[in-house]
């Protein structure tokens, strides 16, 4: 059981990574901030009484579920946008792309990436965004959140073997993408 001070300290420790993790997944900073906010509130509302050492795992599970909820809502929204655009005259040339792809393109031109102090960082972030969702999830949880294989499997809802496979594929894919951009491992 934690105090409000401990909860504040925990959230302060994870919030930046959580934001970046959500941004990798949804490719939209505002949506990522909403996801982090929802996740924090859900943790405080439902699991504030849980032991402090369980918070990281619980928070990650909540984050993953909130990101999936976002995908579902986006899917429904895209369906209606696409359906309605058929009946909208003159909207067929530019608005063909689903909303998600449009947002992804906009994100690549995000000034934050352009002005990033490190060229490597921008390339790494872009490469992580391009990873398949499960590989990205495994990479972030296992290496960035420093969870062990068992914990990662619990959060992802899969076997430990799958976690190892996803992690391995993710690292190899990242290495290949970064190599294409001229960033080599030394």
């Amino acid at each position: 059981m934690g105090t409000a001070v401990e909860l504040n300290r925990f959230l302060a420790g994870v919030e930046r990574r959580a934001f970046r993790q959500a941004a990798f997944a949804v490719r939209d900073d505002q949506a990522a901030l909403d996801i982090v906010q929802d996740s924090m509130l859900k943790l405080a509302d439902k699991y504030a009484n849980a032991p402090v050492e369980e918070w990281p795992l619980l928070f990650q599970r909540i984050m993953q579920n909130t990101i999936r909820d976002y995908y579902r809502r986006q899917k429904v929204r895209n369906f209606w946008v696409t359906t309605l655009s058929i009946f909208t005259p003159g909207a067929d040339d530019e608005d063909d792309e689903p909303l998600e792809h449009t947002q992804a393109t906009a994100e690549h031109e995000d000034p934050m990436n352009v002005l990033s102090a490190s060229k490597n960082l921008a390339a790494i972030q872009e490469a992580i965004e391009k990873l398949p969702a499960r590989q990205r999830e495994a990479f972030v949880l296992r290496y960035w959140e420093e969870m062990d294989i068992a914990e990662t499997a619990v959060v992802m809802g899969c076997s430990e073997g799958s976690v190892k496979t996803h992690c391995s594929r993710a690292v190899r894919a990242l290495a290949a993408m970064l190599q294409e951009k001229g960033i080599h491992d030394e």
Partner: protein, 124 residues
């Protein structure tokens, strides 16, 4: 460089990049965090999160506010009635004793004017 080492190298870069987040993002994250902590505190009605084993006396009073107020009112009323009863009976006893003494001729009428009469009546 093996996969693990390579991943750690990438993570180091990612962690360094967290320092470059915009001020508007950081403000929003702080605001979200504060809302979450406030929600957790409000849920418990206190600034500290509490376990089922650590319910304090103040916590009990907060949960049973109406019952506690009723019990305190009953105690005050009981005390008031005891005091009232005691004060009334002692006053009646004094008056009866003085009246009897006057009728029996043990006291002069001027005894009414004596400020120490109560002391004398109590002594006898």
């Amino acid at each position: 460089m093996n996969e693990e080492q390579y991943a750690k190298k990438l993570v180091t870069e990612l962690n360094d990049g967290l320092n470059g987040l915009g001020s508007d993002v950081l403000r929003r994250l702080q605001s979200s965090r504060e809302q979450a902590c406030e929600a957790a505190s409000q849920q418990r009605g206190a600034p500290y999160l509490r376990s089922a084993h650590s319910i304090t006396l103040t916590g009990w009073f907060r949960q049973h506010r109406l019952g506690a107020a009723g019990a305190m009112l009953l105690v005050v009323l009981a005390l008031a009635s005891v005091v009232w009863e005691y004060a009334g009976s002692s006053s009646d006893d004094d008056t009866a004793a003085v009246d009897t003494a006057l009728l029996a001729g043990e006291l002069p009428v001027n005894a009414y004017l004596d400020t120490h009469l109560n002391k004398w009546a109590n002594a006898n």
